[in-house]
């Protein structure tokens, strides 16, 4: 039996949510940046632990000072990927804020925190203590690159595993 799971992509603008979805669903990366001004849905079927899962990925526009998240989008989600850009420290802190807000709005649901753009690690503004602090709080933190593909499959696999647990 096919299990249906709604998965949201959450994070600040331009952290790479759309590129991660494209890499995962279509297997490619484009340097061309397109601001997401709405919600884009994609489907992907995966197998985990002998079960077939159809994921509907909700790629939601990035929250910033000018555009706030519409929390109703997250209702009914089985899990989410929280995404930050390792080259912009502000997006890491914004991710913490979004996680707290999400917990308040929809309760505790499985998530994995992705620090994206690992192909540009020399530019990262990530503080090792900050990451260790999140891990100590029980967060699953993965480094990903939509450009090289590093960690992308693993991120979705980890979230799937958590959603099925």
């Amino acid at each position: 039996m096919l299990l249906l799971k709604k998965v949201c992509m959450i994070g600040s603008f331009a952290v790479g949510k759309t590129s991660l979805v494209r890499r995962f669903v279509e297997g490619f990366f484009s340097d061309e940046y397109q601001t997401n001004i709405g919600v884009k849905l994609s489907n992907k079927e995966v197998s985990s632990g002998g079960r077939e899962i159809k994921m509907t990925l909700w790629d939601i526009y990035g929250e910033d000072d000018f555009q706030k998240m519409r929390w109703s989008y997250v209702q009914g989600s089985s899990g989410y990927l929280l995404v930050a850009d390792g080259t912009r420290a502000a997006t890491l802190h914004k991710a913490e804020e979004l996680e707290a807000k999400l917990r308040q709005e929809v309760g505790v649901i499985p998530f994995v925190f992705l620090i994206n753009k690992s192909d540009r690690k020399e530019e990262w503004e990530l503080n090792a203590e900050f990451e260790q602090g999140l891990v100590a709080r029980g967060w699953d933190v993965l480094h990903t690159s939509a450009k090289s593909g590093e960690g992308v499959e693993a991120a979705f696999a980890k979230l799937t595993e958590k959603m099925l647990a």
């Binding site: 919600v39 994609s42 109703s72 989008y73």
Partner: protein, 102 residues
């Protein structure tokens, strides 16, 4: 609805539907082309469409819409923008507006 108004709405890219409950809608005016790309043509004797079945986004918005219709609020409730990829990378950007019949 007058045919002039129907033509105008279709030209502007609007599809006007009435909600009958249980996920079923009927078209109140001839729909623009993009509408049938996503939802096809109404079928059955009742000429209704289950729009939420092909749009999880609309299905989600209907939860808010029900709350709006059940409330005494005036005006309209607007959804965010939903981007549907059709064929050959063609994207359709749709926004839903719900109102009460006067």
């Amino acid at each position: 609805m007058s045919s002039v108004l129907q033509d105008f709405l279709r030209e502007q890219g609007y599809a006007v539907c009435e909600y009958h409950g249980g996920g079923e809608f009927s078209l109140l005016s001839a729909a623009p082309e993009w509408f049938s790309w996503i939802w096809g043509e109404p079928d059955g004797e009742k000429k209704t469409l289950r729009l939420g079945d092909k749009s999880p986004f609309l299905e989600n918005f209907l939860v808010e819409a029900h709350a709006f219709w059940s409330s005494r609020k005036k005006g309209e409730l607007t959804s965010g923008l939903w981007v549907e990829t059709l064929r050959d990378e063609l994207e359709c950007r749709t926004r839903f507006r719900c109102r009460r019949r006067p």
